[in-house]
């Protein structure tokens, strides 16, 4: 079982990642994630077999440079419809649970 050889990632790290992703995991799900992430990291190990010391980190393929637009205001046709996607709205604003600080 994957959980038996967890030397790449432990449960605390899984919980930390879940917290960052705002995911609430059950104990079962934590175990499953542990296994999945372990497998992914093993795959990264496989990739690491390649010697890339002389290769620049690749953020993008092709180096054409970003297309740029002129600084011209182009108003959205229907900004009101943006709010239609809100789970809840009030006074033309997205309503969310109270934020502390």
């Amino acid at each position: 079982m994957a959980t038996e050889k967890t030397n790449k990632i432990n449960l605390d790290q899984v919980r930390h990642i879940a917290l960052l992703a705002r995911l609430e995991l059950t104990a079962d799900e934590e175990q499953r994630m542990l296994g999945d992430l372990e497998q992914m990291l093993e795959y990264v190990d496989k990739l690491n077999e390649l010697d890339t010391a002389a290769v620049e980190p690749t953020a993008q393929v092709g180096d054409i440079g970003a297309a740029m637009r002129d600084d011209v205001v182009a108003t959205c046709d229907d900004p009101q419809s943006i709010l239609a996607n809100a789970p809840d709205a009030r006074e033309q604003m997205f309503k969310v649970p109270k934020i502390i600080e």
Partner: protein
């Protein structure tokens, strides 16, 4: 300052977010105008709807390069955008597009004005200037929070200093200089109230003379230069007290509470420091067109530091005067437009620093809307130089001109402020006074020097208060000496 604070020195680094003066947002065409009704300057791009792609605003690049050159940075010919990942209601995509490993501008420094006492200017080195998008704005209601995305995607530069700052006052001077430069360059309006100029401070203390760094705290929520100085001063004292009591400083984010004058730990976002940056796949690398940097360099205006140097070395102004006059480009331009035809530049500097700045500050409006054209002030000061009016009369005329909008010559004659410099007329008045007061004349000639003021007063009275006092003095001295 307590004795224990002598043992320590503070190490301060500042992060400034300045909103760039563009019409549209950094990755979409929505307006950046301040104060619009909530969620009216929004579109699928800046609200993080699925399937949209950001397109970079070239003006952002030009403005950021302008600031980078002014701060002596190296401009990266190629930089990339990164995603800074965190969840917060004001961040619709769940990440902020920013720059991490390859900022647009690297290194450089900001030169702070010398205060005249401990000599020349101080350099505060910069780590970097990079580009990023702003988040939305949270408004807190009693039962919930409300989010307005008008600000989301507004272009920002983050200007990060090295921890070269040592005192709260120096932090204030650095911020004033930065704001002044941004405004000279028309890169940002530097408006702290509207949130277009924001500052966070990293503060730590260490034993004086030590090279190592203490544990730092990040102080946020400072909405004015004064708040920044107070918050940093408080934080330095707090950390010193902890260390003196044998306790440790905890690395954390603290919020300045201006009402209570303290910093306190922030309760939320505890995990937010794990941002998991990675390259933004939706944006190709930012490649600076080869001749763009040179084009911008050629068009750079004279900056506050260069103006200060010119005012002190060429005009003989003090560092303080040079600093006051150059903080706002509008004021420095005004001062220079007052000068033509005047011999006494110091007097012109004084006039702008006191009379002009007072009216401008009181009116709360721009220079052009609150004070007469600089040439009119120049002509007023020329009349003072030529002895045509007294300095007090010039002040009276200036106040009237600010209200009426009339020119200097018309105002001076309308108010009858011209003083008599006609020596013959003054001599006649002196003769009259001397004839009328033979006893006092005898006393004066007998050694009562103090009576001189009495004669000046009598002559001034005889001439309706409009004679040139300098000429009265000269003529009277001559006439009273002769017996």
């Amino acid at each position: 300052m307590s004795a224990s604070s002598e043992k320590y020195e503070a190490v301060i680094g500042l992060e400034v977010h300045a909103q760039l003066l563009t019409r549209s947002k950094i990755f979409c065409g929505c307006s950046t105008e301040f104060g619009a009704p909530p969620n009216t300057h929004v579109c699928p791009v800046c609200c993080g709807m699925p399937g949209v792609l950001p397109v970079f605003n070239r003006r952002v690049l030009e403005l950021a390069i302008r600031m980078g050159l002014a701060a002596h940075c190296t401009i990266a010919p190629r930089s990339i955008f990164d995603r800074k990942n965190y969840f917060y209601p004001d961040l619709p995509k769940g990440y902020q597009i920013s720059q991490y490993e390859t900022p647009l501008c690297k290194g450089g420094y900001i030169e702070l004005p010398g205060d005249g006492d401990n000599g020349g200017p101080t350099r505060i080195r910069l780590v970097r200037i990079h580009l990023e998008e702003d988040a939305g704005k949270n408004i807190h209601a009693p039962d919930c929070s409300l989010v307005d995305f008008n600000r989301s995607g507004v272009p920002l530069t983050e200007i990060v200093s090295e921890p070269d700052i040592r005192t709260p006052e120096q932090a204030g001077a650095y911020l004033r200089e930065l704001r002044s430069m941004l405004r000279y360059l028309e890169v940002s309006d530097g408006n702290m109230e509207e949130g277009s100029f924001r500052c966070d401070a990293n503060v730590s203390v260490r034993p004086r003379g030590s090279d190592s760094l203490g544990v730092k705290t990040e102080v946020k929520n400072m909405n004015s230069f004064r708040h920044v100085e107070h918050a940093i001063a408080y934080e330095i004292e707090r950390q010193i007290e902890l260390l003196e009591a044998g306790e440790r400083v905890v690395q954390e984010t603290r919020l300045w509470d201006p009402d209570r004058g303290v910093t306190r730990p922030m309760r939320s976002k505890e995990y937010a420091h794990d941002y998991r940056y990675f390259p933004e796949p939706d944006l190709p690398p930012l490649i600076v067109p080869p001749d763009l940097v040179e084009q911008i360099r050629i068009a750079m205006p004279e900056l506050p530091a260069a103006r200060r140097a010119r005012y002190t070395s060429e005009m003989g102004l003090t560092p303080y005067e040079a600093n006051v006059l150059t903080q706002e480009r509008e004021i420095a331009d005004y001062f220079e437009a007052v000068l033509p035809g005047l011999k006494n530049r110091k007097a012109a500097a004084n006039w702008v620093m006191t009379e002009v700045l007072r009216v401008v500050n009181e009116s709360g409006r721009g220079v052009a809307q609150s004070v007469p054209a600089p040439a009119e002030v120049g002509s007023l000061l020329k009349m003072v130089e030529d002895g045509a009016i007294s300095l007090n009369a010039a002040k009276t005329a200036f106040a009237a001109m600010c209200k009426s909008g009339k020119n200097a010559k018309a105002t001076v004659s309308e108010l009858g402020l011209l003083q008599v410099s006609d020596e013959a007329a003054i001599a006649a008045a002196c003769d009259e006074v001397i004839c009328a007061e033979p006893a006092k004349v005898a006393e004066y000639r007998g050694g009562r020097d103090k009576l001189f003021g009495f004669f000046v007063g009598q002559v001034m009275k005889a001439m309706g208060g409009k004679a040139n006092p300098k000429i009265i003095n000269e003529v009277l001295r001559r006439k009273l000496a002769a017996s």
